[in-house]
């Protein structure tokens, strides 16, 4: 079985993957918290779309479950939770503090995307799974970009979105390499994401109440002299 068995769906999935990566880049580059939240929601919708496409092609019920869970947790629950816990931080229109400026961030992002392909290629050269050629490298790239977001952002909400973007990347790869995801992986997605969101959200609220800001880059009391 290869991508050529489903030419139309493979093309659609490739388009989805390109937009998915673009959203991940947007989360790295955007200047405002609300914009990065919206880009994250778009990224989650694209993950859902890819899961549905693969679900149709491979006739896998599991992938529809992943799609449903992603919609419920990442596009509905998390924005709602952020609004409940730290609305003032999300809707304030100001620039996010960052450690590296945007042009350099984008250059480094490009390097990370190349790295993702360098890592994925030897895997794909020996093992094939339908759609893995599209989803594995793009998912890996999204993982690296999410981790990079966490490193360059100095504020709590963008760091949390970076973390969840990494999770999106893992599932974007995961749906192609293990389309018959064990029920347990669905359970993980269904339980893990809300729990992360809850814990991180509550912690953010506690930090906000205690310090009046969620600019965690300023918390530098703890370091070696």
């Amino acid at each position: 079985m290869s991508n050529s068995s489903f030419p139309v769906i493979a093309a659609l999935d490739a388009l989805t993957g390109a937009l998915f990566l673009l959203a991940a880049l947007g989360v790295v580059a955007t200047r405002q918290v609300l914009a990065s939240l919206q880009l994250f929601i778009w990224q989650s919708l694209l993950l859902t779309l890819s899961a549905v496409l693969l679900g149709i092609a491979l006739a896998s019920v599991h992938l529809f479950a992943v799609a449903a869970i992603t919609i419920a947790t990442k596009t509905l629950l998390i924005p709602w939770l952020l609004r409940r816990t730290v609305a003032a931080e999300v809707y304030r229109t100001r620039e996010i503090e960052r450690a590296i400026n945007i042009p350099i961030s984008l250059l480094l992002s490009a390097a990370l995307i190349v790295l993702a392909y360098v890592i994925a290629n030897p895997i794909l050269a020996t093992v094939t799974a339908p759609f893995a050629t599209i989803n594995l490298p793009l998912g890996l790239a999204a993982i690296f970009l999410g981790a990079f977001t966490i490193v360059v952002r100095r504020e709590a909400v963008p760091q949390m979105l970076g973390l969840l973007a990494v999770e999106n990347g893992v599932f974007f790869s995961g749906i192609a390499i293990v389309p018959s995801l064990p029920v347990i992986a669905e359970l993980a997605a269904a339980v893990d994401v809300p729990v992360i969101a809850l814990v991180v959200g509550l912690l953010m609220r506690q930090i906000y109440r205690r310090l009046g800001t969620t600019s965690v880059g300023h918390l530098a009391a703890l370091r070696e002299q």
């Binding site: 895997i123 020996t126 973390l163 990494v166 729990v195 992360i196 930090i207 703890l222 070696e224």
Partner: protein, 480 residues
Amino acid sequence: MELAAILILPLIASALSLSTLGRRYAAPITLISAAAVLALAISVAGLAAGSGRIDAADGWLTCDALGALVLVLVALVGFTAALFSWGYIAGRAGHPVQHVQRYYGLYNLFVLSMLAIPLLANVALMWIAVELTTLLSAFLVGYEDTPEALEAAWKYVILTTLGAVFALLGFLILYWGSRIAGLEPFTWLGLVEAAPRMPPTLLWPAFLLILVGFGTKVGLVPMHTWLPDAHSQAPASICALLSGVETTTVLYVILRLFPVISGAHGLDASSWFIGFGLVSVGVATLLLIYVRDFKRMFAFSTVEHMGIILVAAGLGGSEAHLGAAYQITGHALAKSFCFFAAGMTVMAVGNQEIASVRGLIRSSPLAALALVAGGFAIAGAPPFAIFVSELVILKAGFTSGHALAVGLLALLVVIAFCAVMFNINRMVFSPPEREIATAAIPVTCKLTLLIAAIPLLTIGIFVPAPLHALLQAAAAAMGG
């Protein structure tokens, strides 16, 4: 039967702690549950050392000797830390009763998640348990509600969860490989069996993703940056759990990977283990020299010990693996004891700065004695277990032709020893510059020290036959 009971008891204790009954009795409820779990864990370990493996709940739960060793250590520190919490948490002024109840509710769940790691047969479920250890302990790390504690909790959650998500991709790739090899149940035993039939191009990235991802939670350099913060800002009872056993339970997962990787295709996991381990020991030793906060000092020492255990696992051979199993045991006992001693010192003098504590032997003799004993035990002086285990590891390294690696290791261990003892010596014996007002120490904390001292002092001199059998079986489970 026992295996299921070990997981159900903390759940009940957590629910009771949060109920109205918990308003007055959360501490004793937690303690009773922890004692029962410890008794069950010891009986499980006895069985596992004898028969090799026990299964329960239709094969969903399983425990071999290596798992049983980790299980017993978690249960033991879970018990002593619960006893220490009783006086320590009640003695913190300004915490309303709901906070104390929430502390015990989360405490039990946190211990439960750690107990589950060696017991869950399915590897994907085990991943969830590892992830939950972070999420359930986040608010325990931030319990003091100071800006520093919240900062530590934030870094802890974001970085270790990021690591766990990387590891998740590693496990998904392993699952992919096991499907290709035609394996259905996704268990460690099955993975070892299926590994030779998996494509090495899959095993390799999976191994690295899990090593780096879970290595973050173990505190391997350079992913260790969150560890000294979380392990120094949490309440002492939680530090004992974080440093003493939480790191070990995640390291256990990495050790489980060793036979899967090195059993197949001649992939060289050893070099990665030795490399990561040595870098961790080296950087931790350097940080130990410059450290200014005594709880951070013990945290860096954890990074050092995780590195030593990883090196020992990487050396391979039954001798080195026996040393690793013994070192895991010695570290869990000594590090939890050190944090109890550190917690008493904080209670007595009111801060964590090494420079501000002088002449502790006169102002608070019990805390001072505990620091000295704990320091010797963790730094690896005779007659403590870590001295013996480090000797075993070094000897195994020399005889197996890794003279350069273990020579370096020996040098670093000696420097780290001097750094730790120099700081403790200054805190305990140097003449006080001024009279420090010291506070009284709760009786349960003193009792904790006495109880924790018994295994600490004995196992370096005398290893009881059942424990020896368990250690040997655990070493065998790490693979040749």
